[in-house]
């Protein structure tokens, strides 16, 4: 069964809630190797998204994603704003006109997101950024398609891979973003952006698990 528009909306709402619940956690992670604002930034952004959502909830998924992207872009700020903004804008472009998403649609959308994030931030795998969580998540989806896995399995595999990618940022020395100023002292701390990325994908797996 595909992911319907209402599932997408439910996901975004759950993400907003999840981010709000984890705001202090994300900020704490950012205190250690950044500037103590990632939680507040993401919370502010998704709060704005929730306010904006009713205006487009009768539109196609592409429009919804683009609206989320534009809203994040103009409310999050910092590194997270343009990156998560680009993520949803790119996903919106890939899903333009769609009222439901197959596993392949979702995989292509998330791959477009990843490419957008990489183009914008120029981070490579292993630079200790959200890319380290997003890349394995996309790869897991692609592999699941090749293995003909059902969508709910694919989503879980994707979230699990994001989690592993997130956890793997801990020992890394940051080469991009604010944590890179720390040099070797950035090692030993989990990346906040990779963490928020994992939370977003985890919520996708959980929310859609129930409906599909």
């Amino acid at each position: 069964m595909p992911v319907y528009r209402d599932d997408v909306i439910a996901w975004i709402k759950s993400v907003a809630q999840m981010i709000a619940e984890n705001s202090s956690y994300l900020t704490d992670l950012d205190s250690a190797i950044g500037d103590a604002d990632h939680g507040a930034n993401m919370e502010r952004g998704f709060k704005a998204v929730i306010n904006k959502l009713p205006e487009v909830s009768d539109k196609d998924i592409g429009t919804i994603f683009k609206t989320v992207g534009m809203t994040l872009l103009s409310t999050v700020g910092g590194a997270g704003g343009p990156l998560y903004g680009t993520w949803f804008l790119q996903a919106g472009m890939k899903t333009a006109g769609k009222m439901e998403l197959t596993l392949t649609d979702w995989t292509e959308a998330l791959e477009a997101s990843l490419n957008g994030v990489v183009m914008r931030g120029k981070a490579e795998l292993g630079d200790k950024t959200m890319v380290d969580a997003l890349t394995p998540a996309v790869n897991a989806l692609k592999q699941a398609i090749q293995e003909n896995q059902p969508i709910h399995v694919a989503l879980t595999l994707s979230a699990n891979s994001a989690q592993k990618g997130m956890e793997a940022t801990t020992p890394l020395i940051a080469r991009k973003g604010r944590a890179s100023y720390l040099g070797e002292r950035s090692a030993g701390h989990q990346d906040p952006g990779a963490t928020s990325t994992y939370l977003i994908l985890k919520v996708a797996a959980e929310t859609w698990q129930k409906s599909i």
């Binding site: 500037d35 103590a36 604002d37 700020g77 343009p82 914008r120 991009k176 604010r178 720390l182």
Partner: protein, 333 residues
């Protein structure tokens, strides 16, 4: 958390409302998206100079808006770069037909948000150049990292570029002046205490009563090294050595020396730092021809200081001395 605020989420908005009234003779404030622009702008035929960045560094950048310096400043949330719509609207608002310079501090967020704004502004037919300041020698520079942070040179570049624009120099010439400041300026800072981001509600880092952080960033990003507290003179040496041993200073150079307070350090202590920094420069045969001492680029209530040296030539000296009329920097007008 001990702060004179109401709600963390209202800090920036309330401060902007105050600035609009307190400095109504110099600036006007636009909301949603937020930016501060000079009261008499846009100036036709003049290059617009704008900057922006997270709030919590006051007076930078809003305090530098006015004749002879910035045409507009875009304040983000505390320590969070502003969003592209702010810079886009500010760029459009200050555009006098001669193009707009974006002075951007080298932080991933600032770079990306300004980049997107510049793309959008260019799409609307406005000529935009962006120059990125990256003068913090505390950070190891490398092609494979985000590079050095933009700190004290930004303030000086805003003054020089603002004066150059006031002379009706072209966008390329004003941008060149910014690149010169970027190339000729170096900075390093240190902290005695942490700051507390209002939303976070607790200090960004813990620093024991007898320790300090050398090479701190202006957002409380940890620095190069943490060590036992030392005397002002020793600390000044620890900041000046990496600055001077970096290019571009040599015997005979004339420099502007900027001793900046991070917010919680009394002015009298900044003078003590300045005294030693000046002495060290002299020992290296470097002449301090202009000075700026005070809290101009702060990190909320953080106690600490940063030193910036900017090698000056005749043109830069004239631009530095040119009239400026902003809330935080003012002379000759």
């Amino acid at each position: 958390m001990k702060k004179l605020i109401n709600k963390p989420e209202n800090v920036v908005r309330e401060a902007l409302e105050a600035i609009a009234i307190a400095h109504a003779d110099l600036v006007k404030v636009s909301y949603d998206p937020n930016y501060i622009m000079r009261a008499d702008g846009p100036i036709m035929g003049k290059v617009g100079v704008i900057s922006g960045g997270g709030s919590g560094h006051e007076p930078m950048h809003g305090g530098f808006v006015g004749m002879g310096m910035l045409d507009a400043a875009c304040p983000g949330a505390v320590f969070t770069s502003p969003t592209p719509d702010q810079m886009l609207e500010a760029t459009k608002a200050v555009n006098g037909g001669a193009g707009v310079l974006h002075i951007v501090k080298n932080y991933t967020g600032d770079i990306m948000n300004f980049e997107m704004a510049a793309e959008l502004a260019r799409a609307e037919g406005i000529e935009v150049e962006a120059v990125v300041t990256d003068d913090d020698v505390a950070v190891k520079d490398s092609l494979y990292t985000a590079g050095r942070r933009g700190v004290g040179v930004t303030v000086l570049a805003e003054k020089l570029c603002g004066a150059a624009a006031e002379q009706k120099r072209s966008l390329k010439e004003v941008a060149d002046m910014c690149r010169k400041a970027k190339n000729f300026g170096r900075s390093m800072g240190m902290a005695l205490t942490s700051c507390t981001v209002p939303h976070a509600g607790k200090p960004t880092f813990d620093l024991p009563e007898d320790e300090m952080e050398i090479g701190i960033g202006i957002h409380g990003e940890p620095g190069r090294t943490r060590m036992a507290l030392k005397s002002a003179d020793e600390i000044t040496e620890m900041l000046m050595e990496p600055i001077l041993s970096d290019i571009p200073y040599k015997t005979g150079d004339e420099v502007l020396m900027f001793v900046n307070g991070l917010g919680g350090t009394p002015l009298i202590e900044l003078y003590i730092i300045y005294r030693k920094a000046q002495e060290i420069a002299a020992k290296h045969g470097i002449k301090v021809v202009r000075s700026l001492v005070g809290p101009y680029m702060t990190s909320l209530e953080m106690a600490g200081t940063s030193i910036t040296l900017l090698k000056m030539d005749d043109d830069m000296l004239k631009l530095w001395d040119a009239p400026v009329k902003t809330p935080a920097l003012r002379w000759g007008a």
